[in-house]
């Protein structure tokens, strides 16, 4: 597969997710997909994650800012915007415990960078994911500055 074909597959994944067309994922993602970033396997599990995201952030939209490919890899730099108006299931606390986060109504924008591997025209693996979690959790209001931080920069902490 050429690099351009591999990039086209990843661009179609973005379109499918933005259009909530989960049926199209069957064409784009390998059944034995491996998510090395979030530590799970399988296309069905990938779809479940999408369903959870749609439930939590019904208006979420992903915009590709940059995409490059080399060999079997496709790297995507993108921005996600959305509003947390639904239940956010499986939110991992630092302790490892997963909770359901009730809707906060907060709007967010986050930047992310993913590296995918394409094999025989299908997305075979998400090799890595870097998200600006700090920014995301701050916008949702689920982390806050500590007493120490409030003393260090009181002008920034209300």
């Amino acid at each position: 597969m050429s690099k351009e074909k591999n990039k086209a597959i990843v661009r179609r994944l973005w379109e499918a997710e933005n259009e909530r067309n989960l049926a199209l994922l069957d064409e784009l993602i390998a059944p034995d997909y491996v998510d090395s970033a979030f530590q799970f396997t399988g296309l069905e599990e990938y779809k479940q994650m999408q369903i959870m995201s749609i439930a939590a952030f019904p208006d979420f939209h992903e915009t590709i800012e940059d995409i490059v490919a080399e060999g079997d890899k496709v790297c995507v730099h993108f921005k996600v915007t959305g509003t947390h108006t639904g239940e956010y299931r499986g939110f991992p606390l630092p302790s490892g415990k997963k909770i359901t986060l009730a809707p906060t109504g907060k709007k967010f924008t986050i930047t992310c960078s993913l590296i995918w591997r394409i094999v025989d025209g299908k997305i075979a693996e998400k090799e890595s994911a870097v998200y600006d979690w700090m920014d995301f959790h701050k916008q949702l209001g689920i982390i806050e500055y500590t007493e120490k931080a409030k003393k260090l920069f009181p002008e920034d902490v209300s």
Partner: protein
């Protein structure tokens, strides 16, 4: 320049930081390097940020986990680690600098740096940085308690 030559420039830049040889960055980066994420221009500013990390984390080290190139772009995925044994100056949300006394904590920062290399020089960049662990370990942020939430 070939993809491998562009990657070699990025690798040299990372090595220069790990060896505390910031002078070498003058050869690798354009003096008017533009950081699109921070919206800052200038190599000197970029060097100052590294100097702050060296002071706060004398053992600061960047490990290349992956490197990918196409056209004039090089993507490098990094895992940076360090131990907070020196004073660290952290920009506050309003852009002031706060001083964090050493905590002795070990930190990890995951990032993807995207760089454009033109005629052998790094001219501009974009970053995605996961600084959650850094700020948590330094005791600047904490998670709210969720007593009323259902555990799934």
């Amino acid at each position: 320049m070939s993809l491998e030559e562009n990657k070699a420039i990025i690798r040299k830049g990372i090595e220069a930081v790990n060896e505390r040889n910031l002078a070498l960055l003058d050869e690798l980066m354009a003096s008017d390097f533009f950081d699109h994420t921070l919206q800052t221009r200038g190599l000197e500013g970029a060097k100052q940020v590294y100097a702050l990390f060296f002071k706060g984390f004398p053992d600061f080290h960047m490990a290349i986990e992956d490197i990918v190139a196409e056209g004039d772009k090089v993507w490098v995925r990094l895992k940076s680690t360090g131990t907070h044994t020196g004073e660290f100056y952290l920009p506050t949300p309003s852009g002031k600098m706060m001083t964090l006394a050493p905590t002795g904590k070990k930190i990890t920062i995951k990032s993807v740096n995207i760089r454009r290399v033109v005629e052998g020089k790094i001219i501009e960049g974009w970053n995605v940085t996961d600084s959650l662990d850094l700020l948590k370990e330094l005791g600047v942020i904490e998670y709210k308690r969720f007593p009323d939430e259902k555990v799934s």
